[in-house]
Symmetry: D4
Amino acid sequence: MNEFEDLGFCKLDVGRNERTGHPEVVFGQGKTVDQVETIFSRLVEIHGRALVTRATAEMAERVITRYPEARYEEGSRLISLGQSARKLPGKVAVLTGGTSDIPVAEEAAGTAEWMGCEVDRIFDVGVAGIDRLLSQKDRIREASVVIGVAGMEGALVSVVGGLVRRPVIAVPTSVGYGANLQGITTLLAMMTSCAAGVTVVNIDNGFGAGFQAAMILQLVAEGA
Amino acid sequence: MNEFEDLGFCKLDVGRNERTGHPEVVFGQGKTVDQVETIFSRLVEIHGRALVTRATAEMAERVITRYPEARYEEGSRLISLGQSARKLPGKVAVLTGGTSDIPVAEEAAGTAEWMGCEVDRIFDVGVAGIDRLLSQKDRIREASVVIGVAGMEGALVSVVGGLVRRPVIAVPTSVGYGANLQGITTLLAMMTSCAAGVTVVNIDNGFGAGFQAAMILQLVAEGA
Amino acid sequence: MNEFEDLGFCKLDVGRNERTGHPEVVFGQGKTVDQVETIFSRLVEIHGRALVTRATAEMAERVITRYPEARYEEGSRLISLGQSARKLPGKVAVLTGGTSDIPVAEEAAGTAEWMGCEVDRIFDVGVAGIDRLLSQKDRIREASVVIGVAGMEGALVSVVGGLVRRPVIAVPTSVGYGANLQGITTLLAMMTSCAAGVTVVNIDNGFGAGFQAAMILQLVAEGA
Amino acid sequence: MNEFEDLGFCKLDVGRNERTGHPEVVFGQGKTVDQVETIFSRLVEIHGRALVTRATAEMAERVITRYPEARYEEGSRLISLGQSARKLPGKVAVLTGGTSDIPVAEEAAGTAEWMGCEVDRIFDVGVAGIDRLLSQKDRIREASVVIGVAGMEGALVSVVGGLVRRPVIAVPTSVGYGANLQGITTLLAMMTSCAAGVTVVNIDNGFGAGFQAAMILQLVAEGA
Amino acid sequence: MNEFEDLGFCKLDVGRNERTGHPEVVFGQGKTVDQVETIFSRLVEIHGRALVTRATAEMAERVITRYPEARYEEGSRLISLGQSARKLPGKVAVLTGGTSDIPVAEEAAGTAEWMGCEVDRIFDVGVAGIDRLLSQKDRIREASVVIGVAGMEGALVSVVGGLVRRPVIAVPTSVGYGANLQGITTLLAMMTSCAAGVTVVNIDNGFGAGFQAAMILQLVAEGA
Amino acid sequence: MNEFEDLGFCKLDVGRNERTGHPEVVFGQGKTVDQVETIFSRLVEIHGRALVTRATAEMAERVITRYPEARYEEGSRLISLGQSARKLPGKVAVLTGGTSDIPVAEEAAGTAEWMGCEVDRIFDVGVAGIDRLLSQKDRIREASVVIGVAGMEGALVSVVGGLVRRPVIAVPTSVGYGANLQGITTLLAMMTSCAAGVTVVNIDNGFGAGFQAAMILQLVAEGA
Amino acid sequence: MNEFEDLGFCKLDVGRNERTGHPEVVFGQGKTVDQVETIFSRLVEIHGRALVTRATAEMAERVITRYPEARYEEGSRLISLGQSARKLPGKVAVLTGGTSDIPVAEEAAGTAEWMGCEVDRIFDVGVAGIDRLLSQKDRIREASVVIGVAGMEGALVSVVGGLVRRPVIAVPTSVGYGANLQGITTLLAMMTSCAAGVTVVNIDNGFGAGFQAAMILQLVAEGA
Amino acid sequence: MNEFEDLGFCKLDVGRNERTGHPEVVFGQGKTVDQVETIFSRLVEIHGRALVTRATAEMAERVITRYPEARYEEGSRLISLGQSARKLPGKVAVLTGGTSDIPVAEEAAGTAEWMGCEVDRIFDVGVAGIDRLLSQKDRIREASVVIGVAGMEGALVSVVGGLVRRPVIAVPTSVGYGANLQGITTLLAMMTSCAAGVTVVNIDNGFGAGFQAAMILQLVAEGA
């Protein structure tokens, strides 16, 4: 099978499922509604499932008109149809520092679920009230992979990184103001975290974290 | 009394003791050894005590030759002679995230002590091993003012800010590398901390934090 | 009593009043109107008072419909209900450099008042007309804590810092343009101020300054 | 067992082995030779093995005098003694874009090996001569985790991210000049990579990448 | 002939055609509709052709009302009338990393065509699916000049730079988010590319790349 | 006479006319229409003239309703009434690099005129068509002070600085895109200009340049 | 006379004296000792005087060996020989915020003197002890041009700008640390100053300020 | 022939000569002397010529000991042996703004010469004395490609870009101080230049500019 298919405005990476275990995921931002519809349809025809991130309500409407079984979640801005046939082992814990970080966390959770993961949502456990986080310690330690979604100074992942024996993926969010610099401060702070074993994805990139978590569990499923 | 005295290369603020409760403190960096010696001597003559921050060993040697009772502490780079006659009430807790933050913490502690404060040093309680910090909770809560000295992402002050009912002053340090940007990331992260009641001073500015802590306790001593 | 209460989208820090002397304050930005209403109600039920910062008119309308005794101040964007039963000693002076800094100053003042402080508002005393500031010298010196709110180069706090024997808290504002970088220049300039005893909070963070001022006066009230 | 042990200048996190599967790793930078020796000795006594990152030759000399079986590798600046008793499954591929990235890659490799991983070093496969990378495709795909170490624009990880079905951890290096901004450009570029499933650690942080890789394989070993 | 003509609000560089081989191109952004119309008309009268970049729909409407043979292309935001009488030799390949980069690529392509170049559009060949790019290798190598238009980390030009024996001009786009910093990261990353022979123009400056490509082919046409 | 007058929300600097030769100029941005009207009226009552910069159309309408002799110029956003009784000697040349810089140039020109200067407007003489600038050399050299208003790389002032024996004041504008960083690049570039005798004001700060030019001519008028 | 003279490695601008009233000033930094000697000699032959800025001690030694009447001042790093035959009217006041700013102030003063100005040095009048500055008010107001040299937040020029009716030129210095960003913060803060009539030159560019001051007084001397 | 050869620490791109017309050029920075010697020798064996950029004197000594016909030029830091057998048509003009830019210009010139170009060096023609540049207009216009090397604000390339009908490649240098930000300001300013047809390479990257110039002339030689 050819690795890609030429749709004119885009070259669909149809070989990605075989190469990586999952179909290409569509980054909705910057695409037209027509383009999203075309790509989505082609993916569904080929793979039987599809996922669009950063989708607008208008994109969702168009896609759902054609595929009524597709779902749109406004917070996470995901359009999804179907999900991985294979259930991955273990559990992904998705934590947020605050309430405003939830939409990004839902992007992470929704992506991981679409790829076959079980997700445990543990929201609003920021470190300014450390007992909120400590009370969830056991639940967090049960997870195979931990995703920490936080804005401001991102301290959540530093504390969590020291609590668990599992990989921690940090997602800086653009929640904050002033010195937060639209999340750049959070990103750099998470990078320079005093905890080992923390890796970081782009600001508000819940998708990237969910994807990496699923990759890790896929490895567990398939054996190293 | 005149507010200042002209030494040619500088106008010594001799009225500061009356205005603020403490003699002018000398910022050693960028001054020559001669200048430091001249200012130090004049301060001792007028006020009977003096403090130099960011002093070099060479400055210290010159000053101590003339005033053998002066002391120099290499880590904090403080030269001090005498201290406030008045003991201030309460206690200042000076915390560090790690071992490398100790010199800055000592600048804060030394300044506060010179101004009449009692200081409790609580070092290496960074949040990556949260139990280290939590085990000191009672001791920290006994303090009247808390100074949190940390590098990297500065998460220490966010956790501490949520634990205490007292003012917390954060000192970002330039400890870290890469995304730490010589402490700028730490500074911005502390600024955007999720904990209320935290104020921040310049990178590595232990002096500023110790000074503010003493100002607060001076207020307590004198009554609001 | 448990330290927090789970509201699903948030874990309310109900133990904070006991730990720090004041109920959790709600950061309105990034929350939905429903979320604000729910949290506000719960806080009023538990503590008999509540404060929301960065509230929208829509949030205010919803809250006031339910709690007609709540008040909304458009400039400061505070929704408040009740205030601390205990009157704190002393006085907080809130200064602004210019007219445009007033909304941020009102956030500081309103927060401090809600926490039991008496506030003295001294507005538009920027240093470009230094007599405006000097004419208020005595009044400023009477305050126990001084909050300096200024945009542009933030020079106000440097001058004030040298005039008083009390803690000065600087609030950089995003007032300015071009080289002001939305307040980042002001923040960094205040950080690097030539005056000792000045600490700084985030850009436009009137709340943080008012909170810290109240913490200091609470310490005075309770004794070090 | 207590979670930490107080050495005066530091609180050793002796509970970390149990919590996370590995003893605390010592960050050498900013510590004195005495401090490193003390911590190293204590770790060896408790855990039978130890690892110091960013160690100087002087630290190494002191440690090796005391523990002749310790090894120092100049490029990676690691001092290590012993390694994990448990061999982790799978293999970690460590790739570099160029020759100058090798020291950072060796820090990653050495860390992973100390933690029980098998490592495959694939150096100088930067994308400007894409055939160099493509010729290693099969070898890279055999790895369970891929670490991509690169400076300049960091394009290596974008290409690799699209080739494999396994987690990719990117390490930006400070190799480059001018617009490279000491690696900040590389870091931000890797963050904004067009490939999914890539997470990033701090500039030159080979340790962090090696640690995370081992965490993932530890998960595989222990089951999700 | 005089080098310029004074239109009051602007001094039209009417000598540019003779100096550089092409009439002045109008930068529409920041000009009023009246100004654009006036300049466009004058250019058409003198040179028989004109090109406006960054034009709004309103500008286009006004111009087309007066010159119905003018064309407006919404994606590239170019208004053009006529084109170079001389056909330049060779071919310019315009590549994009993704679908969202197409508008900028069309600005490059449209500019080059207006100046007499033949253009080959090769879109959506980003390196995350490297086979898409490699499958076009021969077509790219046939081009005399290659323009690489990409957002995010801009890795496309690094790979292409190593594949061809022809000049490569990189156009960073503002496609991306977070750490992309509105294209600044892409720009800096392309600058620090590991491939030789790549030069860079401003973010989203398709015009500049198309112009330079035409300059190169004009040199080929006229002989060195 | 007292130096200022308290209007509640502002302390009008009524002594400024005597101190500096001109009444306080009102910075409209960030003020309410009511505030502008009140200040404007008070200034007219005291000094017989007033100037508002960065005024909105709404402010202008309100002021002109009350003072029909006041004028508003939309480009420069100046509201002015009256002007200095004293005509200053010499002439101020106001140059722009392009057409889009004209509004800022008009702010400079209008300010200087209100303060009594004669102004010579020389627009669109950017260096990309160097003959445009050189053809105006004599006219520019006749000026007593030169204001150079330019966006992008700001090269205009470097060339002009080398042509004249008079002070040159540079005004960076926010005209440009991408690497221009909203004028920050222009500002820094002008700062680091290779020409001596050039000083710089804030981005888009035509007022500041016009004011300084008038200060210089006032000095000429009054004698050094 | 030709405008320049070709020395191989440089094209000496020998027409500058006629064009601007002063010979080309040599920027020593980045030049070799040989180059400085050659240029200096040629300038002395043609104009009878010369000035080198940012000179090293080695350059000074070489030049003084050849021209014993040349002088070198270590603080300002100026090598000068001769000065303007014409004494300019008025006086330039050169202020510094602190003692560490004196070298930069001396560069400004030395440059202005070489160009024929009388200079009044008023050092260490930073605003943290505002009485120091206010006590010099009359002396400052006697100056025709004021140069304000300051590091840290640069507040000095904001206060001075509001006190005088004369042009104020601000020189940010790199004195400070941390958030000062090697003077960038000072530069931006001075740019965004709340005082009108302040223009700014590059960090540590005492030469530029002295030069502009002389240009202004030259204008006064020659008449507008 | 295989595309690359594995030397252990590097994979030599031996196919590059065939692909791009020139052997791989060695970037000396960050490599050891041994590595440079090994690579250099292998390149000479295969291609009969080699070029090392950013070489240290120590590298040069080692290489010349082995290949006495190799040459080292201290300014440009190039080690070269042999050069292209084919002489390319036309001429590359290499301009500098000042004397301090010459080393970078020599890197550009030396690279282009090694690749078969004829180079015309036109140094110290910065725009602050515009006649210096204009006097070279005809000579510059004779060139087929123009390389403009400049520090500070980089205005040189904006003026040159408007004078010629040939491609202009800009090389920002790190010459300057303060607001120059080690050349970042120059880079961004050149990017945002008001002249069309200018492309830019990394700071101090004379090699990149020389390489691109040669690529363009190679195209002329081979026909589009």
